[in-house]
Every structure is written in C-alpha cells, then in structure tokens.
C-alpha cells in the first residue's frame, strides 16, 4: 500500500511485518523513531507475539538480542554512532556465535567532536566484525532490505546490519509502498534456527576455542559471507517475484553502458549523484554510476565487472580512514587490481556536511580531466584548516581544535570575553 510516510515509521512497519519475537530498544538519534514506533505497535497489541524490552544501554541491547536469538527467537534492534561503538564487544559475539540478528544502523558520525548528523563512519567501523552490511538508497529500499535481511541472516545463521542514512532517510517523509502481511509471509518463513538453547535438549553455545580450532571457526564466518555473495542476488530476484520491484542485490549501475568516468558510492547520496549525472549526460558527458548495496560481503567481482570498461572512477564516500584516505575506496581499488584504471577518492558529507549537485558537478568535471589529487576532501574549508594549522605553528598552547574552528567561523562563542 502506497503511503506518504517518515522513513523511520516505514522501517518500523516493515520490521513488524517480519514478525520479530524480541525487540531490544535503547534510544539514540537518529534511530529512535524506529523503535518508538515498534514499541507503540507492541503496546497496542498490533505486533504479537513480540516482547519489547527496554534495556539500559546498547551493550545490553545487543546482549539481549544474542540471548533471544540463541533461544530461538527472531531478534531485532537498531542503533547508531556511539551506540554502535558501545555495543561492539557484543556485536563481535553475535557474528562469532553465528546468530542471525537483524539490526538497523541509522548511519551517523562518530565523535568527538560530538555530532548527531549523518555519515558512514559508524557501520564502516564494524567492517571486520563479521556482520553483513547492506546500504539503502531510498526509504523504499530500506523497507525492502529489512525483509530480505531476515531471510539472508536466517539462511546463513549470521547477523546483518541494514544501513540507512540518518536523518536524510530516517527523518524524510516520502512515498513508500508498504507490503502486505501476505506478501511478507510468502517471502519470509518462520525462523527455523540452526542452533537453539532448549532446556529439553541442553547444549552449550559459546565455548572457549583454542589455537586448535579458532582459525576454522573464523574461516567459516568468511565462508558464510562468500555464500552470501551468491545468496543476495537470489534473494533480490525472489523478492522481485513476490513484491514486483527491484530492491537489493549486490551492486546497481546507472547510465554506465558507454561511461568513461564512473562514480562509485553507497546510500542516499546516489540520488543526488544520479540527478547530477543526468544533467551531465544531457551535455554529452560519458559518465555513469555504480551503487554498492552490499558493503559486506564486498562484491569484488561485480565491482570489477562494472568498472572494467571505464577509463577512470571516483569513489565518493561519507567516511574517512584517518591516516590513509578512503575506506570504501580501498576495497574498490582492490576490485580493479591489474586493470590499470585510474582511481580517485572523494571524501564528502562527513558529520552531515551537505553534498550538493553544484559541488558534484565541479568534482566530476575535474575527474573527467583527471585533475584530481588521489584524495579530495569535498567542500573542505581550507581557510579554516590553514588558520588552525598556522595557530598551532605559532603557539604551543593553541587550545582545543573544535572550539577554535567554531570560534573562527563565528558559530558559537567558544571563549568568554
């Protein structure tokens, strides 16, 4: 049913249609509206049987999800930013134990400095945690990916994060087709756990594993994600059969056929990129887009196939590997090893910095002429940066960086008097 609805509310309705049996909730912006809406549904008796558990922290949220999943319940939680970091020890336990928990990450920057706005630093910090990560481009895709995520997680007995841009998607009202319960039931069977804690047939989960077996267990985590590379496209194609639309998969290209320059990105910024590409195509530029939906597992072969016929590419990412450059770009470059393709990294949108069509036009035109440095910081205020660097050269006691920059920009008075 078509609705004009907030992204968070749409995702809550999608989760409810997946019949979760345990929802652990701890509020953190910009994820809060999702679990609030689910809490209301449970309280109103619209989502039953389901236990909604308010926990005391994100660490507890993931711990309760682990316990519930091990006991055979379909378990769901959601988080963002510092909340994800706080649960990290349990995040690794969920994947190490092979428990198919689904978690929404409403992507948000990581402090300090404290910042509630969107970028991809939070879930990308969990790149190697053993969780799968799918990135939604629109709220429709966020709804659809959650339904596919439960299937994928439970088929493989591995946990998965569905990542959606905080605020940009979670707080946007737009048109979303909410599936019917019959459609979701036809696609997603009840949870049939591979391992379950049952007092009638006692087993233990979580044994200490020494050097004699640890590598095999870890390899199997990797093997599961390699299986996911096969399964994700299958599940997307089955999804299309039941729901009638393309959603999910590993990667998606746009106007890429004869493109000499390709732009690679994840999440909602793909929309702004596509609008920019349309305008450039109208002017005769041979430029296209590669959207990565599955960040983990990373589809090396599909990325290579999508880029191999272009001349150069730009990875535009909302994340920064401090001391290195791009995070996504590193993987994309690995995918094109040996092709001789020229690759550029563009870091954009950190901490909610807006990514505008005007800036993208400029960036993409420079990329076409191969006039970009290896790493570009899009719309960085160099005056502010250089002023602070100069201050540090001049004064041993130059003070806190964030407060200095805010003061220079006249945004708040960081100093009294």
């Amino acid at each position: 049913m078509l609705k004009q609805i907030e992204g968070s509310k749409a995702v809550a309705e999608s989760i409810a249609l997946c019949r979760p049996e345990v929802i652990c909730a701890y509020p953190i912006s910009p994820q809060t509206h999702i679990v609030e809406a689910l809490g209301e549904m449970v309280k109103a008796g619209e989502l039953t049987p389901c236990e909604f558990i308010n926990v005391e922290s994100e660490f507890a949220a993931m711990s309760v999800a682990i316990g519930s999943s091990a006991a055979g319940a379909r378990a769901y939680t959601a988080t963002a930013s510092q909340g994800l970091l706080f649960m990290v020890e349990a995040v690794y336990n969920a994947s190490g134990l092979g428990l198919p928990i689904v978690m929404t990450v409403a992507n948000r920057a990581i402090g300090a400095p404290i910042n509630i706005w969107n970028d991809h630093s939070d879930s990308l910090s969990q790149r190697d945690s053993g969780w799968m990560q799918l990135f939604a481009e629109t709220n429709q895709e966020a709804v659809d990916l959650h339904i596919q995520a439960f299937r994928l997680a439970e088929e493989l007995s591995m946990p998965i994060m569905v990542c959606m841009d905080g605020f940009i998607l979670t707080h946007a009202f737009e048109r979303v087709d909410i599936p019917s319960q019959e459609q979701v039931d036809a696609y997603l069977p009840p949870f049939d756990p591979r391992q379950v804690l049952d007092p009638a047939e006692p087993i233990s989960i979580g044994a200490m594993v020494g050097p004699e077996a640890f590598m095999e267990v870890k390899y199997l985590e990797h093997a599961k994600q390699m299986q996911a590379l096969e399964l994700i496209p299958q599940l997307a194609s089955e999804f299309k059969e039941v729901f009638g639309r393309d959603s999910g998969g590993l990667v998606r290209t746009y106007r890429a056929d004869d493109a000499e320059t390709m732009i690679v990105a994840m999440g909602s910024v793909l929309g702004t990129i596509k609008d920019t590409i349309d305008e450039m195509r109208d002017e005769g530029h041979k430029i296209g887009v590669l959207g990565i939906i599955s960040y983990r597992p990373f589809p090396l072969a599909q990325v290579r196939a999508a880029l191999v016929n272009c001349k150069r590419f730009v990875v535009l990412e909302k994340s920064l590997a401090v001391g290195m450059g791009g995070i996504v770009a590193t993987d994309v470059r690995m995918a094109v090893t040996g092709t001789g393709l020229k690759g550029f990294t563009a870091i954009a949108g950190l901490g909610g910095r807006e990514i505008t069509k005007a800036s993208l036009h400029k960036l993409f035109r420079q990329a076409e002429k191969e006039e970009l440095p290896p790493v570009t910081f899009v719309d960085l205020d160099w005056d502010a940066v250089n002023k602070q660097l100069e201050r540090e050269r001049q004064n041993r006691h130059s003070g806190p960086i964030a407060e200095n920059i805010l003061h220079d920009k006249g945004i708040v008075s960081a100093k009294f008097g």
Binding site: Q4, H171, T272
Partner: protein, 193 residues
C-alpha cells in the same frame, strides 16, 4: 520540481508543516519529499524544513538552496538570519504576521518583487482562535495553498485529518478554512486594486 522552504522556531511545528504539505501533494497523486534541516531541535531556536514536490520520483537529497517558495513562521527571524537567501525571482513568500510587509521593514523587498506572490497572514492569531494554541503551521500551509495554487484546500484538510484527530483536527480544519479564505480575499483585493 517545486521547492518550498519553511523557516520558524522550535515548537512552532515547522517540520510538521513540511510533512503535511508532502502528504497533501501525495493525496493529489504527486511525488513529495519533506525533510528537516536536522539541527538539535530546541524550543525557540531557528528551525528550517524543506518540501519538494514533483510529478516524478524525487532523488535529490541536498537542502533547498533556491526555493520556489518561502513560508516564514516567525517574523522575528527577519532580523536574525537571511531567510530570503536564494529565493527565486518569481518565488512566493508567505509571512506569519498581522502587520504588512512595509510595516515590518520589508518595503524594499515589496518594491523589487511586487505583491502578486507575497502575502502576510496572522497565522498565530488563527491558531489561537481555532485551536487554542499559538501554533501557526496549519493556517500557513492552508494559506500557502491559496497563495500559490499548488495544493487544493481539500488535500490540506486530508493531511490535517491524517495528523490530528477529534477536536484538534476540527480546530485545525477551521483554522485552515479561514486562512485559505483570508489569503484568497487578499489576493483578490490586490488584483482589483
């Protein structure tokens, strides 16, 4: 694509106003995207929210920097921030005030743009009268429907009914009706003047 930017203060229902406009557009079969400027919302702090309307899917996610229309929910913002930044030459302006643009020191703006697409509406008073609260958002979006012709009043009323229930919905619908008529009347008087 038609782009609307609403300025107001935390507590005035700015974000809700854009959401309801998007619902009104959806009710008319169009695509719409409403989103806030994502600040840490505090009562009284300046707030900006955006609404895009189009006949096809809206993919653009940048903030609205060159709006086709401005709704200003709080005239005290005129002295604090440049609410008119980027407004298109043929853009609409709807201002919440019981005073004229000239009385608010905007005579120069009126000279530049003319009054065909500009209107002041006492929306806070309408909110107080019909809903008992000084929240100007619903009268303003109904007034905007009259000013721009972009939305039907009945679509705004559908959006009100989706957002509110019972007495609050009734009060808001009464406020919307009066706001719509007041703006229509102002535009007619100007056309005859």
């Amino acid at each position: 694509m038609f782009q609307i930017r609403i300025h107001g203060r935390g507590g005035q229902g700015v974000v809700t106003a854009t959401e309801m406009l998007s619902v009104a557009a959806f009710e008319e079969g169009r695509h719409a995207q409403a989103f806030p400027s994502f600040g840490s919302e505090r009562t009284g702090a300046p707030v900006v929210a955006f609404c895009r309307v189009d006949d096809k899917e809206i993919r653009l996610r940048e903030p609205i920097m060159e709006p086709d229309a401005l709704i200003i929910q709080d005239p005290t913002l005129l002295h604090q921030i440049d609410v008119f930044a980027g407004l298109r030459p043929d853009g609409y302006v709807l201002l919440n005030s019981s005073h004229s643009f000239e009385a608010l020191g905007l005579g120069e703006l009126v000279k530049q743009r003319g009054l065909e697409r500009m209107c002041a509406l006492p929306a806070t008073e309408l909110g107080l009268k019909h809903v008992g609260r000084p929240i100007p958002n619903v009268p303003l979006i109904a007034g905007f429907a009259a000013l721009s012709g972009m939305f039907k009043l009945e679509s705004v009323i559908k959006a009100i009914n989706q957002k509110f229930a019972g007495k609050v919905a009734e009060g808001n619908i009464a406020a919307a009706n009066e706001a719509y008529q007041l703006v229509q009347q102002q535009m007619k008087e100007r056309a005859h003047a």
